[in-house]
């Protein structure tokens, strides 16, 4: 049977899963299963994942993260975010966003689709290494509240990465599948389930009705610009204020300072999930600032309270849409890294009046659900069916700037609806139609998805032609439009111009370009990756040397020291494969360290490296 893997392409982390003989599980072990959604530019291409993560502070202008928040959007919609991010963002034709790399001309500009494609390529490579087979097809998850442009952008990214998208599914729905089909979970198999999904950059709430084999999404609501990143950003603002009280001259606008603040905020947030207080130190060597203070969990919780409150507003809204009251919700499932924050969890519990399901790792559950869906699509099982919805109404602009809905929000997909258009003047042979998505009455409050032109209408008296336009939303939640003139039976030509997306032609051009460069880049990229791996491994060995003292004999320790020197020499040369071979030897030598819990992280690191080659 062909394999279709599931990929959770996240704001902060990406991971993939598949169904093994023993059941569904993420691909890769420990840290090695997670690819940070970060990429960093080097002369010849991109470093992706862990290697790029290390460069967030040392090379902030060239290190790109949170790219998911840029997918299918424009500068105006991003608002403040543009200033918060340390890398440059510019707007190109048709409001298309591009990330700009370089301090002077010639700049290198990249679309979010291309950048996401690099992350997907990395995930694909790692999956192939771990599975020992080629991976060509995937189910990719998106926030339920992603609109058509954002879904199209995600699909384009996969195409550029050389992945065939078997299906795009919604993250909360994927999580519901993972829980609903896991016999170990005591989830009611018939009833209403609320899935609360708060990730790094997006929030979704979905209500599903489980009955028999069917998982039907009843309603969904959310915010594609709200997540753990915003918790970090609120923390950053407080940190700035605190530092300014002591160092009135402090400057935070340079990319390096932004990164230091962000990284510290992240670690405070994580620390406060484990203990009620977190001490932190902020060092800005260039400004000669070293600031130490501590953060209390109460302060953090009151800081994020307004953001959590926003998510609960969405929960109220979705219940109304589903025509359900709180006591009709039988189960609550938590998804996404930000639901680990104790304050968030408490608020949800209070709101729904029941303790939520958290047994499946909230970081993994979406990928696992996508992997199960991939297994179904590959023909591996047919014991369940997912019926999902489009989150927001689709329609067109009509007179006076009003939005005329053709397909309403929360409609089960696939769906098709037709609408008849006519001409205004005699012998008119083309009509322009603007397509929008949203839930408001006026087009100015909705998102412009694009416009299409109907060509080839036979010349007739004005108002006489009947052009039937068919709007189809497929099971991925993606819109396609086709048209025909009813009186002549002629198929009208249709040209769709996306407002925030790439055209087919642009996607193909990017793919050709990346193929040409791929071969030259390969050795150099590997070289840099292996060097960074080596440094990380050295660090791991040094940190755990006390374990080695007790766990290994003197000869074994000498051998490790000697091999570290050999690796160091190899790092100075240009042969990536030779460096790899020496790293493998080091891996063999440090293997006994894995027997002790302390040593496990070093070994994982070395094996990670072995698998990606």
């Amino acid at each position: 049977m062909e394999r279709i893997i599931g990929i959770d392409l996240g704001t902060t982390n990406s991971l993939c899963a598949t169904v093994f003989d023993e059941g569904p599980e993420v691909i890769g072990e420990g840290d090695n299963s997670v690819t940070p959604s970060v990429l960093s530019r080097i002369d010849s291409g991109w470093l992706v994942g862990q290697e790029a993560q290390q460069r967030r502070i040392s090379n902030p202008e060239n290190t790109v993260f949170s790219i998911k928040r840029l997918m299918g959007r424009d500068l105006e919609e991003l608002g403040e975010l543009v200033n918060e991010l340390p890398y440059q963002i510019v707007e190109a034709e048709r409001k298309l966003l591009k990330v700009r790399i370089g301090e002077s001309e010639p700049y290198l500009d990249f679309t979010p689709q291309e950048l996401s494609a690099e992350i997907l390529k990395k995930v694909k490579q790692r999956a192939e290494a771990a599975l020992g087979e080629a991976v060509e097809k995937a189910v990719i998850t998106v926030p339920a509240y992603f609109d058509d442009s954002q879904r199209q952008a995600t699909r384009a990214a996969a195409t550029i990465a050389g992945l065939e998208v078997a299906r795009i599914i919604n993250e909360p729905t994927a999580a519901a599948i993972a829980y609903g089909l896991d016999e170990k979970q005591d989830l009611q198999k018939d009833g209403h389930v609320a899935v609360y999904d708060l990730g790094g950059g997006t929030f979704d709430i979905s209500i599903l009705k489980l009955s028999g084999k069917i998982f039907k999404v009843v309603a969904t609501h959310g915010n594609t610009q709200l997540g753990g990143d915003d918790f970090d950003q609120s923390l950053v603002e407080i940190l700035k204020k605190r530092i300014l009280q002591e160092y009135t001259q402090a400057q935070f606008d340079d990319p390096e300072s932004k990164q230091i603040l962000r990284k510290t905020a992240e670690s405070i947030k994580i620390g406060l999930s484990l203990s009620p207080e977190n001490e932190y130190t902020l060092d800005f060597p260039k400004q000669d600032i070293s600031f130490t203070d501590n953060f209390k969990v109460e302060d953090f919780e009151s800081l994020i309270f307004p953001l959590v409150e926003q998510t609960l507003e969405s929960c109220k809204h979705v219940l109304q849409q589903a025509k359900l009251s709180l006591d009709q919700i039988d189960e609550v499932v938590l998804v996404g890294g930000s639901t680990v924050v104790p304050g968030v969890r408490r608020e949800i519990e209070t709101f729904f009046g029941r303790s939520p399901h958290v047994a499946i790792d909230p970081y993994k559950v979406v990928a696992i659900g996508a992997g199960i869906q991939g297994h179904l699509l590959a023909g591996g099982r047919r014991d369940f069916l997912l019926l999902d919805v489009i989150p927001l109404a689709l329609g067109i602009e009509t007179l006076g700037g009003t939005f005329s809905k053709i397909i309403t929000g929360n409609t089960t997909v696939p769906v098709e609806e037709s609408e008849t258009f006519t001409t205004n003047v005699d012998d008119q042979t083309s009509i322009d139609v603007n397509i929008y998505q949203g839930e408001r009455e006026l087009i100015k409050d909705c998102r412009a998805l694009g416009k299409f032109k109907l060509h080839g209408i036979p010349p007739m008296k004005g108002g006489f032609p009947l052009v039937e336009v068919m709007f189809r939303v497929d099971a991925n939640g993606i819109l396609t439009v086709s048209a025909s003139e009813k009186r002549s039976g002629k198929k009208a030509e249709i040209e769709v111009i996306p407002f925030h997306g790439l055209t087919q032609f642009e996607i193909e051009r990017i793919m050709e370009d990346s193929f040409e460069h791929a071969i030259d880049d390969f050795n150099e990229r590997q070289l840099i990756e292996f060097r960074l791996t080596a440094e990380r491994v050295f660090q791991g060995i040094e940190q755990n040397w006390n374990v080695a003292e007790s766990a290994l004999s003197g000869t074994e320790r000498d051998e490790i020291r000697r091999q570290m020197e050999v690796v160091r020499e190899s790092m100075k040369k240009q042969d990536s494969q030779a460096l790899k071979a020496q790293l493998d030897v080091l891996g063999e030598l440090t293997r006994p360290l894995a027997d002790t819990a302390m040593g496990r992280s070093i070994l994982t690191e070395l094996q990670a490296d072995g698998e990606t080659s």
């Binding site: 028999g212 084999k213 179904l376 089960t412 696939p414 769906v415 099971a475």
Partner: protein, 205 residues
């Protein structure tokens, strides 16, 4: 009329739904002109048990959905997409009493030209009055009065919906009485005004 009963294009069994044959599990090349009752395999009538409808929809979804045709030839994949789309629309239409009534009226009023904008006497004036009253309530933010108004409108809407079934039954018994369908049209129009009004009242917490 036995010849009206559609048969499967491969095994010739009588079809429940025009979209799929449950005897030989084959997708059917369905006609473009087909009513939603045929899609779900129910007689053309307003009377429809919601549990029966739900069950049939689930059975058909489990056969037609494109997720089960991932490895099928392109033509079959396409057929399953279209069939699922039609199934979803048919289900959505027949599930809601007002949508079902409006759809059925449209099917049955082929021979008769209906006045599509008719309203009960005095209804329009009353609606204008209610809209103004709502504007005032929204301006003052009086939650108690808003809630009372919402309840009042919801009850009126329910009363209208309760009329559909007896009217359609009357039409079945007296198909030549053209006044019955017009009466249905009038009720449906009134329902739409009430629905719009209700949409403007913010939901209670």
């Amino acid at each position: 009329m036995a010849f009206d009963q559609p048969a499967c294009h491969t095994c010739e069994s009588t079809l429940v739904s025009r979209l799929f044959c449950f005897s030989c599990n084959a997708l059917q090349p369905f006609p473009r002109e087909m009513d939603f009752f045929e899609v779900l395999g129910f007689p053309v009538s307003f009377e429809l048990e919601s549990t029966d409808l739900e069950e049939r929809y689930q059975e058909l979804s489990l056969e037609l959905h494109p997720d089960f045709y991932g490895l099928a030839p392109e033509a079959e994949k396409l057929l399953s997409e279209t069939a699922s789309a039609i199934l979803n629309t048919a289900y959505k239409t027949l599930r809601e009493p007002t949508l079902r009534a409006s759809y059925l009226l449209h099917l049955q009023a082929t021979k008769q030209k209906l006045d599509e904008r008719s309203l009960p006497e005095g209804f329009l004036a009353e609606m204008f009055f209610l809209q103004e009253e709502l504007d005032e309530l929204l301006g003052s933010g009086n939650a108690v009065d808003l809630s009372a108004m919402r309840e009042d409108m919801q009850n009126r809407k329910k009363d209208i919906e309760a009329d559909y079934a007896p009217l359609f039954k009357k039409h079945e018994e007296q198909p030549e009485d053209s006044g019955i369908l017009q009466q249905l049209q009038t009720q449906l129009n009134a329902e739409r005004y009430l629905r719009r009004l209700l949409e403007r009242i913010p939901a209670a917490d």
